[in-house]
C-alpha cells in the first residue's frame, strides 16, 4: 500500500504543488492530471525516491520510503518520459540489460515474447536508432510485461506517441496488473480508460 501524506515539492524558487495526499490500495489506480509544468513528473519522481520532497512523506507498506532504502526500488517499475533505451543496442538487448539490472533476469524467449506482444515482432534485433518514436515507446513499455511481479508501477505519459492499437494493448496490460493486485500511478493527457475497481483522479494546479 502506497500512502502519500501532505506531499509538497519546490522546483528552483517556485512551489510546484503542496499538500498532496492520497492512498493507493492493491488493485488501485491513480491518474495524475494537470497542465504543463504543474509538477506531474516531479510527483512521480518523488514517488520513486529520485527527488526529495520539501514537505510530507511517501510511505510504502506503512514505512517511509527512505527507511526502505534500496529495497523500495525492488518494489517498483518506473517508465519515465524518456524511454531509457540505448540507440546502439537492439530492443531485445535493451530489455535484457534492463531486466538484469532490475534484478529480474529474463530469458531471450521471454523478452521476445514481450516485444511481440507490443507489436514489435520482427524488429527485436534492429538497433533502436532505426525505430520510430512510437516503436521506441512500445519497446520501453514492453518492460512492463517483464515487470509483472513488481507491485507498484509509476508511468509518466505511457500513451505518448502510441497509435490506438498499441494504446489498447497497454490498457490491457495495466488492467491485468490491477486484477493481480498491482498498483499504478500514471500521468496522462489522454483518457486513461482503464477499467479499475478503484480509480482516483488527482488534479495538480499549476
Amino acid at each position: 500500500m502506497l500512502e502519500i501524506i501532505g506531499l509538497g515539492c519546490v522546483r528552483g524558487e517556485r512551489r510546484l504543488f503542496g499538500n498532496v495526499s492520497f492512498t493507493l490500495e492493491p488493485g488501485g489506480l491513480v491518474w495524475i492530471q494537470g497542465g504543463n509544468g504543474s509538477g506531474k513528473t516531479t510527483l512521480l519522481r518523488t514517488l520513486c525516491g529520485l527527488t526529495q520532497a520539501m514537505a510530507g512523506e511517501v510511505r510504502w507498506r506503512g514505512e517511509p520510503i527512505q527507511a526502505w532504502g534500496e529495497d523500495y526500488r525492488r518494489e517498483l517499475t518506473y517508465i519515465a518520459h524518456a524511454n531509457g533505451l540505448k540507440e546502439e543496442l537492439s530492443a531485445q538487448e535493451n530489455l535484457l540489460v534492463a531486466a538484469r539490472l532490475a534484478r529480474q533476469p529474463a530469458s531471450r524467449v521471454e523478452v521476445d515474447g514481450a516485444l511481440q506482444d507490443m507489436g514489435l515482432a520482427g524488429r527485436e534485433h534492429l538497433p533502436v536508432k532505426f525505430l520510430s518514436q512510437g516503436q521506441r515507446r512500445r519497446a520501453a513499455l514492453a518492460r512492463l510485461k517483464l515487470a509483472q511481479p513488481r507491485p507498484l508501477w509509476l508511468l509518466d505519459e505511457p500513451f505518448n506517441a502510441l497509435d490506438t492499437h498499441a494504446v489498447a494493448g497497454v490498457r490491457q496490460i495495466m488492467e491485468d496488473h490491477l486484477t493481480r493486485g498491482g498498483m499504478i500511478a500514471l500521468t496522462s493527457h489522454q483518457d486513461v480508460g482503464v477499467q479499475a475497481a478503484d480509480t482516483q483522479v488527482l488534479r495538480l494546479n499549476a
Binding site: 527527488t51 534500496e70 526500488r73 518506473y78 518520459h81 524518456a82 531509457g84 533505451l85 538484469r100 539490472l101
Partner: protein, 222 residues
Amino acid sequence: MMRTLGHIVSRDILLAIRRRADVATTLFFFVIVASLFPLGMGPEPKLLRAMAPGILWVAALLASMLSLGRLFDADYADGCLEQLMLVPEPLALVVIGKVMAHWLISGLPLVLIAPVIALQFDLPAGSLGTLLLALLLGTPLLSLIGAIGAALTVGVRGGGVLVSLLVLPLYVPVLIFGAGAVDASATGMDASGHLSILGALLLLGMVLAPWATAAALRISLE
C-alpha cells in the same frame, strides 16, 4: 551485488564496441598529443628524454578528461541514468561499475600503447616498466576522480569546459607522482616511493570517489 557490477560493466563495454569511434578518438588523441612534442621541440635526444615522463602524463591526463563526457552524459540524455539510479543496489555500486568500464574502455588501451609512444622519446628500456606500472596505478585514479566531476556537470550545457576546470586541479597529485616515478627510474633512482604513494592514492580514491560521485549524481538529477 557482484552480478549487478558485472552487468553494468558488460553493458558499457557492449556499448563501446558498438561505438568504436569513441574509443579510438581518446586513443588517437593521446598518441597525437604525445607525438606533437617531439615535432615541436626538435629531435634533441637529451631534451626529449628529460621531458618524456611529463609529456606522457599530461597527454594521459588530457585524454582521460576528454572521455569523461561520455561517462554519464549519454545515459542522462536518453533516460538510462534515471533507470540506473533505480537499480535495487546502492548507487555507489552502479558508479563503481561505470568507472570500471570507463577505465577498461579509455584507460587500459592508453596504458598499453604508452610504452610504444615512450620509444619515440628514447626513454631507457629500464624505465618502460615503471611507466607501465605508474600508468596502471594512475589511470584508474583519473577515472575515479573524473567521475566526480562528470557527475557534478551531468546535464549542464557546456559541461565539458566546466569539468576540466573542476577535475584538472584534482589530477595534479597523480601527475606529480606518476611523472615523478618515471623520472626517478629514468635517472637511475628508486621509483618505489612514488609508486607507493600512487597506490595509496588509488586505494583512497577507490573508497571515497564512488560515494562522492553517487552523491553528486543525486544532486544533479534532483
